[in-house]
C-alpha cells in the first residue's frame, strides 16, 4: 500500500479517552477509567480497517471519539486533512454527514414511532441535502433499493421488519448523505448466522460500487473482521497491540494476545480442530480503572519476562505494514 498523505482519510494519533470516576458528596474525581490510552492508526481511502478486541477493550470508544460523540482527553483526530478533535457541536455537524455510523442492535437503534422512510430520510433533512419533496422521495426510494429493500415498504414501522431487514434500514440511513467513512459498530452480532452473511455481503458490495467509502469495522468476532477487513488492529485494554494486513493476522500473528485470541476462536471444521493448538489464557481482563503497569497484557501473558511489567511497549514495525507492541517479538 502506498501511503501518500492524500490517501489518508482518517488519522488518529495518540488518542486518549479517560472517563472520570466521581465519588462522595462533593463528587470529587477519585480515579480515571482509561478506556483508550494512546491509540494511533491511519485509515486509507476505500479501505476497511477492522478493530477487534474483547468487551471493554475500548474499541467502541474509539469509534465514538471519531464521531465526536465523546470529547477525547488527549490526542488528535484528523479527518480528510482537518483536525476535528475539539470542534464545537456546530462545526462538527457539517462533518457528520461525511462520517456515518451503523449500530449493533437493529432493535434499539431505530425509533419505533418513526416509519422506515423517515428514518432513512431524516439525515437528508438535517443536513439540508435535499431541496424539493420529489427529490426527497426519489432519494429515499433509491436508498431502499440500494440496500435491497422494496421502496414500497417505506411506510412501515420498524416492528414490521425482521432483524436483517432492520439492519438494512440502518445501513440505508448511514448511506443517506453519501459519507466517505462509515463506522460499523458490531453491525452483525445481533443477527442470526444465516442473515449475517447477507449484511456482510451488502457492506462489501456497497464499498465496491461507491467511489470512496472507507469502513472502520468494530467487532469482537475475529472471523468476521478478518473476512471483511483489509487491515486489522487488535486492541487490548485501551491499547492497540498489533496491526497488520488481515491475511497476515491468521498466517503470522505475532503478539501473544493475538495468538491466544486466534487460537480461542473455534473453526467450523472438526479435522482442523483436532490438530489445532489452543492457548488458554489465565485469568480475566483487568479493570481499566486500575490497569497493570508496563504492558497491559503481561499478567496473563505466557511469554512475559520481568521487564514486561516495567515499560509500556510501543508499536514497532516487524515487517512492512505489520506493527506489534511487544518487547518479546
Amino acid at each position: 500500500m502506498n501511503q501518500k498523505n492524500n490517501d489518508v482519510i482518517l488519522e488518529v494519533s495518540d488518542l486518549k479517552m479517560y472517563f472520570p470516576v466521581m465519588r462522595g458528596l462533593l463528587r470529587r474525581k477519585v480515579a480515571d477509567v482509561k478506556a483508550i490510552d494512546g491509540v494511533s492508526f491511519k485509515l486509507m481511502k476505500d479501505e476497511t480497517l477492522g478493530l477487534v478486541g474483547e468487551s471493554g477493550c475500548g474499541k467502541t470508544t474509539v469509534g465514538r471519539c471519531v464521531l465526536g460523540l465523546y470529547r477525547a482527553t488527549a490526542g488528535k483526530i484528523i479527518f480528510q486533512g482537518n483536525d476535528i478533535t475539539a470542534l464545537s457541536e456546530d462545526k462538527m455537524q457539517s462533518y457528520r454527514k461525511n462520517i456515518a455510523l451503523i449500530f449493533q442492535d437493529p432493535y434499539s437503534s431505530l425509533d419505533p414511532r418513526q416509519n422506515a422512510g423517515s428514518i432513512v430520510g431524516e439525515p437528508l433533512k438535517i443536513h439540508r441535502m435535499i431541496m424539493t419533496k420529489g427529490e426527497y422521495k426519489d432519494r429515499v426510494d433509491e436508498l431502499f433499493s440500494i440496500v435491497g429493500l422494496d421502496p414500497s415498504m417505506a411506510d412501515r414501522f420498524p416492528h414490521e421488519f425482521s432483524g436483517g431487514q432492520r439492519q438494512r434500514i440502518g445501513v440505508a440511513r448511514a448511506l443517506a448523505c453519501n459519507p466517505s467513512l462509515i463506522i460499523c459498530d458490531e453491525p452483525i452480532s445481533a443477527l442470526d448466522v444465516s442473515i449475517q452473511a447477507q449484511i456482510i455481503n451488502l457492506l462489501e458490495e456497497l464499498q465496491d460500487s461507491a467511489k470512496d467509502l472507507s469502513y472502520l469495522f468494530i467487532a469482537h468476532d475475529l472471523s468476521v473482521v478478518r473476512h471483511i477487513s483489509d487491515r486489522v488492529a487488535v486492541m487490548y485494554l485501551g491499547h492497540i497491540v498489533e496491526i497488520c494486513k488481515s491475511r497476515e493476522l491468521y498466517e503470522k500473528p505475532s503478539h501473544p494476545y493475538t495468538r491466544a485470541l486466534l487460537s480461542a476462536v473455534p473453526i467450523a471444521d472438526p479435522f482442523i480442530e483436532e490438530t489445532r493448538e489452543r492457548i488458554i489464557l489465565k485469568g480475566e481482563v483487568p479493570s481499566p480503572l486500575n490497569p497493570p503497569s508496563g504492558c497491559p497484557f503481561h499478567p496473563r501473558c505466557f511469554m512475559a519476562i520481568p521487564e514486561c511489567s516495567k515499560v509500556l511497549p510501543p508499536l514497532h514495525t516487524i515487517e512492512t505494514g505489520h506493527e506489534v507492541a511487544c518487547i518479546r517479538v
Partner: protein, 328 residues
C-alpha cells in the same frame, strides 16, 4: 453403549392469540453414556424449547403435546412436572446450564446458599457437608479463594466467573446428563475457550453426558461427537461431527457452512448467504419449511409433506427429497 436418554417424536407447542406455534415439531434424538452431542440451529428453531421440554420446564401458554422422553427406562413425560419423581430427576440426574449467567443466578442469595441448596435437597447432605462440597466444586471449576467467595453474591462475580458457578452447580449432584444451553454465547472469546475446555474436562471426570445447544458451528466442531441440525422445530440432519462438516447433505446445513466466515479461509472469498428469512412458525404449511429458501428444490418438494428422516450413510440422516449427493 447404552442409550442413556432417548427423545421420541417430541412436540411442544405454544398457544398464542394468532395461532398455535409448534416450536418443537416431532423431534427425536438420543444420547449415549459419556457422549457429547451438539444441537445446532438459529434462534427460534426450537433447540432450547426441546431441552426445556426434556426437563419439563415448559409453562403456559406452552405445553408438551406429544412424544416420549425415555430416561433410564422410564418416560419422564409421564411424571407430573412438579411431582416428586420429576423433581428427583431434574437437577439431580439431568442438570441444565443456561445461557445468561447474569439472570439465571438469584441476585439476593449468596453463591454458597445457591450451591448448597441442591446438595441438601437432592443428596440429603448436612449443611456442613454441603459447605465442604461446595468449596470443592468451586475449586474444581477454577474459582480462586473458594472458601471466601461462598459468601459473595452473584454481582460480585464477572460474567465468566458466574458461568463457572453455574457449571459447578450443574455438576454438583453428579448428574448423568448435563444440558448446556448456549453456555458461552454471552462471553468473550478467550473466556469462552477457557470455559469450554474446563467443561470438557469436567464431564470426562464426572462421566457425564453433555448436550451442547448452540448456534455456533465452531463450538460443536471441536467438542461434539455427533450433531443434530435443527430448523423450524424439526431436526433436518443428524450425523457424526465429521460427516456433518465434511459431507453435509441437507441444503440447510450446506448453506449454513457456506455462509459463515472462517478464520482460515482464502483471501477474497465471497460468502454465500442463505436467501430469505427463517419461517414464521404459526400455521406452517405441511411442506418442507426450508423450501422457500432452498436452492436444491425439486418438483416433489412442493407437492409432498416434509419428508421423514432418511438414512444417507452410516448413522447419517437427512430430511430432504432432493438428491444432494450429485454436483456438490
Amino acid at each position: 453403549m447404552a442409550e442413556l436418554l432417548q427423545v421420541k417424536d417430541l412436540v411442544t407447542q405454544f398457544k398464542t392469540e394468532s395461532g398455535v406455534v409448534k416450536a418443537v415439531n416431532g423431534v427425536s434424538y438420543y444420547i449415549n453414556e459419556q457422549e457429547i452431542i451438539g444441537l445446532v440451529g438459529e434462534s427460534g428453531c426450537g433447540k432450547s424449547v426441546s431441552q426445556l421440554s426434556v426437563m419439563q420446564l415448559i409453562s403456559a401458554p406452552g405445553e408438551i403435546a406429544g412424544g416420549k422422553v425415555i430416561f433410564e427406562g422410564k418416560d419422564l413425560l409421564k411424571y407430573k412436572p412438579h411431582g416428586p419423581e420429576m423433581r428427583s430427576v431434574r437437577g439431580a440426574k439431568i442438570a441444565m446450564i443456561f445461557q445468561e449467567p447474569m439472570t439465571s443466578l438469584n441476585p439476593v442469595l449468596t453463591i454458597g446458599q445457591q450451591l448448597t441448596e441442591m446438595l441438601v435437597l437432592h443428596l440429603e447432605m448436612s449443611n456442613d457437608e454441603a459447605q465442604k462440597k461446595a468449596i470443592e466444586l468451586l475449586n474444581m471449576v477454577g474459582i480462586p479463594a473458594a472458601e471466601r467467595r461462598l459468601e459473595d453474591y452473584p454481582h460480585n462475580f464477572s460474567g465468566g466467573m458466574r458461568q463457572r458457578v453455574m457449571i459447578a452447580m450443574g455438576l454438583s449432584c453428579n448428574p448423568k446428563i448435563l444440558i448446556a444451553d448456549e453456555p458461552t454465547t454471552a462471553l468473550d472469546v478467550t473466556t469462552q475457550a477457557q470455559l469450554l475446555e474446563m467443561m470438557k474436562d469436567m464431564v470426562q471426570r464426572f462421566r457425564t453426558s453433555l448436550i451442547i445447544v448452540t448456534h455456533n458451528l465452531g463450538v460443536v466442531a471441536r467438542y461434539a461427537q455427533r450433531i443434530y441440525i435443527m430448523y423450524a422445530g424439526r431436526i433436518v440432519e443428524s450425523g457424526t461431527t465429521k460427516d456433518i462438516f465434511r459431507n453435509p447433505r441437507h441444503p440447510y446445513t450446506m448453506g449454513l457452512l457456506k455462509c459463515i466466515p472462517r478464520l482460515d479461509e482464502e483471501e477474497g472469498k465471497k460468502l454465500v448467504p442463505i436467501e430469505g428469512l427463517p419461517p414464521n412458525l404459526i400455521n406452517m404449511p405441511p411442506t418442507c419449511a426450508f423450501l422457500p429458501r432452498c436452492s436444491w428444490k425439486i418438483a416433489k418438494c412442493s407437492k409432498k409433506p416434509w419428508p421423514e428422516l432418511t438414512s444417507v450413510g452410516d448413522n447419517h440422516f437427512i430430511r430432504c427429497y432432493a438428491d444432494t449427493k450429485e454436483k456438490k
